[in-house]
Structures are given as structure tokens and as C-alpha cells.
Amino acid sequence: MVDFFQSRDINFLKEKARQVRVAILKMLTEAGSGHTGGSLSSADIVTALYFYKMRHKPNEPQWEQRDRFILSKGHAAPLLYAVLALSGYFDVELLKTLRKLHSPLQGHPSSKLLKGVEVSTGSLGQGLSIANGIALGLRLSKIKARVYCLLGDGEIQEGQVWEAAMTASHYSIDNLCAIVDLNDLQIDGRCSDVMKIDPVAKKWEAFGWHVFQINGHDLEEIVETLDSAEKIKVKPSVIIAKTVKGKGVSIFEDKVEYHGITPTLKELEIALKELGENG
């Protein structure tokens, strides 16, 4: 069976991540609303999943053996749409319809409307439980596929995340890998000011998880860690990825105000230039 993409070429992945960022910025500018910062901070991780790690078939979204990706931080929808479009799930032209009436690209992902979206998300804290359920179902069906679940760092303030953390550990769900995008910002400010989440790694360890801590923008490290996580047996694994909100566009980087607003045309121009995109 031929798996899709699966390129371990770091330069290829870097170029994909750049294209993903360009697509995110363009669609958000066109939409005029949406979440810029958190889409950019997770871009390298999700690029590595869709273009290297995950076995999936864009022309057969319901392929039973596919690895599953659950975007628990549903507000990073533009990122999900970008990787889906660039993988070939749908035409990249559709990205221009983000958040517009009757577009399948809803403000937060809707699985009813868009192929490739496994489940609707947007209300924080629910994705890890869903991922657990999928992982348990795959295990029961003896399907070897893995489940990846991306959470925001602010999101882990939701109590349900820790209910799910207990469940994954209790049921030794090792076909699951959670990823926490640790960009240290949430809507109201720094996580440490809004509601302290530290010590993040120790919390997951205490809940029985195997913890990896990485630089969430180093594609080499991301790829290696995703491979290592697959080898962890009997316990679930979590990758705590230190990231920079708005990564890739210096005017947006580590700025709390770019959590939920979109670039102006002028800012888009600056951003695209910085990303080496002409026009």
C-alpha cells in the first residue's frame, strides 16, 4: 500500500510549511476575521503531520486505515484548511471562501460540511476525549492507525482535558499522540497571567503520559519526535511543543493581539514579502 506524501526531506517540509503560512495569511486577510496567531504557531507541527507522518489519502478521506488528526484547538481552522487544501482534499481556491455564508470552511471546523475534517471542534477541551474514543475504536477493530490530537496551551485550562488525560493513561492508549502548542498566549494575555498552567510537562507525567519536550518550529526535531512517539508502548505520549504565536511573520510574533484578528492588506504585503512570496 502506498502511503501519501511521507517525505522526510526537511527542505521539502520547510517549503510546505512556508506555503501553509502563506495560505493561512491570504485566507485570513480575505475573510477579515479569524485566528492568526495560533494558526501560525502550530503550522510546522501540522505540516509535519500531513506531509510526513500521517498515512492518509486525500482522494479517499474515509479510508479506514488512515491516521486521524483531531484539531482540538478548533480556532486554528485556517491551518487545518491550508494543509487539507495543499494535500489535495479540495481545491485551494476554496480557501477564499473562509467564514463566508454557505462556505464549507466554517469559522471553526465542521465535519458535516468539509471532507477531511474528522469531527467538528471549536468549543475547547473536547478533542482529546474524542481522540481517545477513536483510538480505542481502532484498537478494538485491530486497525493499526494512529490518532494525533493538537491542543492549545490555554486550552489545557479546561478540566475535561485532564479527564481525558486520565482515560488515555488508564486504558493504556498508545496509538494516540497528543501535541500541546505551547505558545504561552491566550486571548486575555500570557497564560501565566490569565491562569497558570505550569508545570506543564510534570502535569502530563503525573497523569501517566510519556512526555516529549521540543522546539515546535524545528522540523527536524518535530519529525524525529513523531517517530519516537510511535515507539512508545503501553502509555500515551504527548509532545509539548514550545512555539511562538504568530511564528513566521515578525510583526505578529508573540503578540497577544494577533490571537483573534487578521492582517490588514498592508500587513499581508509585509508578511508575504517576509515569507518570500511574490504577489
Binding site: 468549543s123 474524542i130 478494538l140
Partner: protein, 327 residues
């Protein structure tokens, strides 16, 4: 009075629970265990209440397909959702107020919005929970579930109907909420009855009044009707076991024949069966609707029969209400 706990002699030979007095949760536990052997896709989740919800039998027979999620209902609903995404048919059980109240947003955002094939079968609905009191007596669950798009809401009236409901929802694809009870209920449904989602059962049509009832109140309605007939009142009774989608055809038919309508449910008079009936009839056939249910209040500790008496969920209340309207 006292019909709830009155035990009718059980027919030990039959497995369809016809004509026996039994708690609907007990029928659920037995039926689930039976179905588990026939359908390997069925998985069951519970939140530390499997002895009470009766999913324990399934857990013993099929330990690989049973997941106790612990005291975390929100996690349970979303884990069930994930299982459904791999083609499993998850049944998630806990007490009605925790399934629909504690985990309401999970049911909304994950189960209903994604239209997932999750069966939420909750026990301990209504006042007949008894001594545990208001915190555990769900009088709002039907309203909470009925308001959700894609959700089907079912309240079986007796053991015979419960068994058929559980069997039927396995074959239906989509979110379902089934409300079951803790206390024994007397048999009401005839042997020829076959449950279908969205189909009411009309015992008979009355020309003075028709009582639209659900759950334990169907038995009360039948008793009330019997008494009223001796006083010359032409009264009909309908078992509206599917609260959503409402059988509007049956409802309209009986409404057009009667002078007024009575709804009867073990739930708040706000938002449940009475609410559903009122919403529909007020638009297409405005007619007077009187509601028997709990009047915008919390429950209390006490014996089930005492609570039903105190809150006015009795044959007598239905009889009095109808006689007053007719006078």
C-alpha cells in the same frame, strides 16, 4: 395510587418483558447484554454508575467492549463520540441529569453538531429517583435534549416498550437520548405493539379530552381514563414515547377530535412533552392544553410514590383537572 411500586406477577418464560412490572433500567441492562452478543459493534460506556444504570451485566459479558470512564461525564460523551467515528455503536449511560446537564455542551458540540451515532441511554429520570433528592432527580433533561438539532428523544412507558426501543435505536444512525427510570413501572403496552421512532401509540381517541402522556405517566393516564369513563367522560390516551421527532400527525388527529388536551410527564412542565405539544398545536390547531408535570421547581427526598403524590403526578390530579375543565 401506588401503581408505580405495585408488582404484577412476572412471566418468567418470556424475554420481551411483556406484561410484567419492572424498572425500565433493568430491561435496558438485560437487553444490552443480549444485543452485545448479536452485534459486536456495540460498545458501552459508563461513568461509575454501572450497577445503577444496569450496564454492569454487559461489562461482565463483554469486558473488552465496556469502558468505565469514571466520574467524568463530559469525557464519557466525547469518548463515545470518538468510538462512533470508527463505526462502533456506543451506548453511554449515567444518571439523566449528569448525561444531559453536566455534559450538555459535549452533547451539543460533539455529538449533535457532528451528527454522530451516539446513544445516550440515561437512567434515574424524574422524581421516582426518590430518596436521593433534587440533585439527582432530572426534571429538565427532555427540554435540554429536545432543543438540540439532530437529536432524537425517547421516553419508554414500560418494560415491553423499553426492550423494543433499545433494539430499534441500534439500527437507527444518529444521536439518540433515551430516558429510563429507577422505579418499577406497571405494564401498559399491548402485545401487538411495535415501537417505531417518531410514532405515537393511540390507546383510544376521546371526544371530550385526550391525554398525551409519556413514561410512567402513561399508566397514570390509563388509570385516570378508566375512572373518568365511569363518570361518563369520553377520554382518550396517547403514549407519546418519542418526544422528538413528535408524531404530529397523531397529535393533530386527536386534538381535532377533543375539546382540550392534557399532557402528562414526569418532568418540568417547561420544555418537555407539554412544551413540545404546545409548540406544535399553537401553530397549527390552537386548542387549550393543560399540563401535568412538575411546576418549575426542584424535587425533594422521599419515596417515589410520596413524591408523585406531593408534586401532583397522579391519576387523581389528571381526573380532577379534566373534570374541572369540563365543568
Amino acid at each position: 395510587m401506588g401503581s408505580i411500586t405495585q408488582d404484577v406477577e412476572a412471566n418468567g418464560e418470556r424475554k420481551d418483558f411483556f406484561n410484567i412490572s419492572i424498572a425500565t433500567r433493568d430491561v435496558y441492562g438485560e437487553t444490552l447484554a443480549e444485543l452485545g452478543a448479536l452485534n459486536k459493534d456495540i460498545v458501552v460506556l459508563d461513568a461509575d454508575l454501572s450497577s445503577s444504570t444496569k450496564t454492569k451485566k454487559f461489562s461482565r459479558l463483554f469486558p473488552d467492549r465496556f469502558f468505565n470512564i469514571g466520574i467524568s461525564e463530559q469525557d464519557m460523551i466525547c469518548t463515545a463520540s470518538g468510538l462512533s467515528l470508527t463505526g462502533k455503536i456506543p451506548f453511554a449511560s449515567t444518571f439523566a441529569i449528569f448525561a444531559t446537564g453536566r455534559a450538555w455542551e459535549q452533547v451539543r458540540q460533539t455529538v449533535c453538531y457532528s451528527n454522530l451515532n451516539v446513544k445516550i441511554v440515561a437512567t434515574h429520570g424524574g422524581l421516582t429517583v426518590g430518596e436521593d433528592g433534587a440533585s439527582h432527580q432530572s426534571l429538565e433533561d427532555l427540554a435540554l435534549m429536545r432543543v438540540l438539532p439532530n437529536m432524537t428523544v425517547i421516553v419508554p412507558a414500560d418494560g415491553f416498550e423499553t426492550k423494543q426501543v433499545i433494539e430499534e435505536i441500534v439500527n437507527y444512525v444518529g444521536p439518540v437520548y433515551v430516558r429510563l427510570g429507577r422505579a418499577k413501572v406497571p405494564p401498559v403496552m399491548p402485545e401487538s405493539y411495535r415501537f417505531k421512532i417518531g410514532k405515537a401509540y393511540i390507546f383510544n381517541v376521546g371526544l371530550d379530552v385526550n391525554i398525551i402522556a409519556s413514561g410512567i405517566m402513561v399508566s397514570m393516564a390509563l388509570n385516570a381514563a378508566q375512572e373518568l369513563r365511569t363518570q361518563g367522560v369520553d377520554v382518550g390516551v396517547v403514549n407519546m414515547s418519542t418526544i422528538k421527532p413528535l408524531d404530529t400527525e397523531a397529535l393533530l388527529m386527536v386534538a381535532q377530535k377533543s375539546k382540550f388536551i392534557i399532557t402528562a410527564e414526569e418532568h418540568s412542565v417547561i420544555g418537555g412533552l407539554g412544551g413540545a405539544v404546545s409548540e406544535f398545536l399553537s401553530e397549527v390547531y390552537p386548542i387549550k392544553i393543560k399540563k401535568v408535570g412538575v411546576n418549575d421547581s426542584f424535587g425533594l427526598s422521599g419515596k417515589p410514590d410520596e413524591l408523585l403524590e406531593f408534586f401532583g403526578l397522579t391519576n387523581k390530579r389528571i381526573v380532577d383537572m379534566i373534570l374541572k375543565e369540563l365543568s
